[in-house]
């Protein structure tokens, strides 16, 4: 009740609202007339100050907010910029630094919800932006400050995936003294790297890399490994996630404080590309590498070593518009150069057909150069006219157009190797669902911010690392792993984190003891306080997740969903609808 009282005193003061419209460089200002929107903002009730600025999230933008709060004695702040799912925490921190409660901040989404999705309609987009700002200002006037709450963080990390990323992350977390639950869907650890014959930029076997990590992980007293397992259920919030794991039908429950998703990548099976599956000697690069790891490369058709080889790059990759294949997988160009260069030692002729070459990383170009020195033949084909594969009389025949000579060429290799792109592994849908994570059109998990926060997600306490985030090399994935581990350790070392104070609150005088809220609450957070006569509904704060279902269900309007009150919501509806006719010259 004290918080309600605190809110009431804060709410009793006359609102003094500051409105800040962000250009986001050209992202918003390129479509929305930000100047006009800021000007309109000045005319709104309780607005003391309204302006527009190039980047509100930049240091200078943050400084501007703080200065104006002091200068105009503002007690509410509205920032119209990107999605609150991205920068609400940033701006809440800014207003807090200016001694305003974080719940007195309101964000308008002018980028994801306006400029980016109405790019060709600047007039209508500006009108929509103005409406949204008006709605936010109306809501801001009714905002109340809420107490800041913290919860303890369980000193255990869950790592999903036992490839190099998951192994590295587990070790990094455990070496800092925290417990780890490592869950791997396969029967053994090691993931995709354990299937590689020769890992660039050096030349050790993939298993050499993974075995060292696996040995340390399995011996580590603070790491509990579950193979043949998956996470079937997730409940709770940062610091206190309750998970269920399933191993061969056996279920176990764990409480963890942080989660690192390291689900990795797998090579795409290019069915429908270059006659894959129509001849036994047409294989993917991954299949050939696995053969090389286990021993000699032999043609599946006759168990003899191939004398001539052809590779094709960018198979089922970089195909904009096709679901799941828009990206460049980064690893294939160098992996093909390495495989081809090494195969040239034991074969007569190796040809690489490529669309583009991206040997971008440290030491990658040397591998490319070495392959050429060994007389591996590189031939570029045009992107609009891909090579054609003809399978006849048990032979593979390649037809393609060589860009540099301008000739149409033909080659009959003993074996054709397709460098297919890397895609998220099977079962990724289930992981996305269990952990409520969003994904890019390519199927990889979305980071909280693609540049500024690539390892965290929109769900506090859940990190993504390695191939879970995008196709990348082992070294890059391991860099991610250590970064994500540091994020998790940071949370656990701090011991407690702040959580939302947006929970429901019962106004006892209005409660009619009907029990409707008790059945509505998904968490069993509401019970009847029998010490009162008549008994009234009572919310256990730690159990309340803030969905507001009880507030909507209550027939007596006795439940207030803090920061999402009926008044705050209806003020937005009203602000949108009531001033429309005036601004539009009575079109309605």
């Amino acid at each position: 009740m004290t918080e309600a009282e605190a809110g009431a005193t804060e709410g009793a003061e006359v609102p003094r609202i500051g409105v800040f419209i962000c250009h986001c460089g050209h992202n918003i200002a390129g479509t929305v007339d930000v100047e006009a929107v800021a000007k309109m903002g000045e005319s709104l009730p309780y607005v003391e100050y309204s302006t527009h600025f190039m980047f509100m999230c930049a240091d200078s933008g943050q400084q501007l907010i703080k200065e104006k709060i002091a200068e105009h004695n503002l007690n509410r702040v509205v920032v119209a910029s990107c999605s609150p799912r991205m920068h609400e925490p940033t701006f809440r921190k800014v207003v807090e630094e200016a001694n305003l409660n974080r719940y007195l901040f309101e964000q308008v989404n002018l980028r994801e919800h306006v400029s980016w999705c109405h790019m060709r309609e600047p007039v209508a987009a500006t009108e929509k932006a103005a409406d949204l700002v008006r709605m936010a200002v109306a809501r801001a006037a009714l905002l109340e400050s809420l107490p800041i709450k913290t919860v303890e963080v369980e000193p255990v990390a869950l790592v999903v995936g036992g490839g190099v990323t998951g192994l590295r992350a587990s070790l990094d977390v455990a070496d800092r003294g925290f417990n780890v639950v490592l869950v791997e869907k396969d029967g053994s650890l090691g993931g995709h790297v354990a299937k590689l014959a020769s890992v660039y930029p050096t030349a050790e076997k993939g298993t050499t890399l993974t075995e060292g990590l696996i040995k340390r992980v399995e011996k580590h007293p603070q790491i509990k490994v579950f193979t043949n397992s998956k996470v079937t259920d997730l409940d709770g919030y940062i610091g206190n996630f309750d998970i269920k794991t399933e191993t061969n039908g056996k279920e176990e429950s764990h409480r963890v404080g942080t989660i690192i998703i390291a689900t990795g990548i797998e090579p795409f099976k290019p069915v429908g590309y270059y006659a894959y599956g129509e001849h036994p000697d047409i294989l993917t690069l991954a299949e050939v590498e696995e053969m090389r790891l286990k021993g000699e490369v032999l043609r599946p058709s006759n168990s003899k070593p191939p004398k001539t080889l052809a590779y094709i790059g960018c198979v089922a990759s970089r195909e904009a518009g096709l679901k799941g294949h828009e990206h460049c997988s980064r690893v294939c160009c160098t992996a093909v150069a390495k495989s081809a260069g090494e195969m040239k030692d034991t074969t007569d002729e190796v040809v690489i057909l490529y669309e583009d070459l991206r040997t971008y990383g440290r030491g990658h170009e040397a591998i490319h150069r070495e392959a050429r020195h060994k007389h591996v033949i590189y031939s570029k084909f045009p992107p609009e006219k891909k090579p054609e594969v003809e399978v006849a009389d048990g032979k593979i025949k390649l037809h393609w157009h060589d860009v540099f000579s301008g000739d149409n060429l033909v080659f009959e290799p003993d074996m054709l190797v397709l460098a297919s792109g890397m895609v998220p592994p099977e079962g990724i849908d289930e992981v996305a669902k269990t952990f409520s994570l969003t994904r890019s059109p390519d199927g990889f998990f979305n980071p909280e911010h693609v540049k500024l926060a690539p390892l965290t997600t929109h769900t506090a306490g859940i990190m993504i690392a390695g191939g879970a985030q995008a196709a990348k090399s082992a070294a890059e994935a391991i860099t991610d792993a250590s970064g994500a581990a540091a994020k998790a350790v940071g949370l656990m070392a701090r011991g407690e984190v702040e959580i939302e104070s947006t929970i429901s609150n019962v106004i006892e005088e209005l409660c009619s003891s009907c029990h409707t809220c008790i059945t509505a609450c998904p968490y069993g957070a509401i019970s009847m306080d029998e010490s009162k006569d008549p008994p009234v509904a009572f919310v256990t704060e730690a159990k309340c997740h803030g969905c507001g279902t009880c507030a909507a269900a209550c027939p007596s309007s006795a439940i207030v969903m803090l920061h999402s009150t009926d008044d705050q919501i209806m003020a937005m509806v009203e602000a949108y609808l009531t001033t429309y006719g005036e601004s539009e010259g009575g079109a309605a």
Binding site: S115, C117, H118, S436, H458, T502, A552, M572, L577, A588
Partner: protein, 147 residues
């Protein structure tokens, strides 16, 4: 077709005004993704973010229509995928009653739409907005059928 033929000039200029309630975890994020993916859809909807569709009271919808909204969209997580386990199921149960209440108030039920769109279903979100606008255009401005 008759609606189109009898349109007055004012109606020809008319653009439907849509209030869209989106849950924070699925549909609001789906709308964000529509933006990041540069999916282009009609500008008519104004999104109000709520934590869960379970938060949405029948009164919000009736009141929005009463205040002049031509349509109301409610968009949330798929049943079974609710961030709060089952808030969307409570809304779904309430929806049947809401549709009835809207009809009884003399409002064409085509003005309200309930849809499920997850955080990764940007296209489904955008298509849903377009679909509701299309429905509302068929019915015409709210003033004609009510008030």
């Amino acid at each position: 077709m008759t609606t189109a033929q009898t349109k007055t000039k004012a109606q020809a200029d008319w653009e439907p005004r849509i209030v869209a309630f989106c849950c924070n975890w699925c549909s609001y994020a789906g709308a964000d993704l529509a933006g990041t993916s540069r999916i282009q859809y009609p500008t008519n909807a104004r999104i109000i973010r709520v934590n869960c569709t379970g938060r949405i009271d029948a009164e919000f919808i009736l009141s929005a229509l009463d205040k002049g909204a031509d349509g109301v969209l409610v968009s949330g997580c798929h049943p079974g995928d609710c961030h709060y386990t089952s808030g969307n199921l409570k809304l779904r149960a309430r929806w049947a009653f809401m549709e009835e209440a809207v009809k009884q108030a003399g409002i064409d039920p085509r003005r309200i739409r309930l849809q499920w769109a997850s955080a990764s279903e940007a296209q489904i979100f955008a298509d849903g907005v377009a679909k509701l606008i299309e429905q509302v255009r068929e019915v015409g401005p709210i003033g004609r059928s009510w008030k």
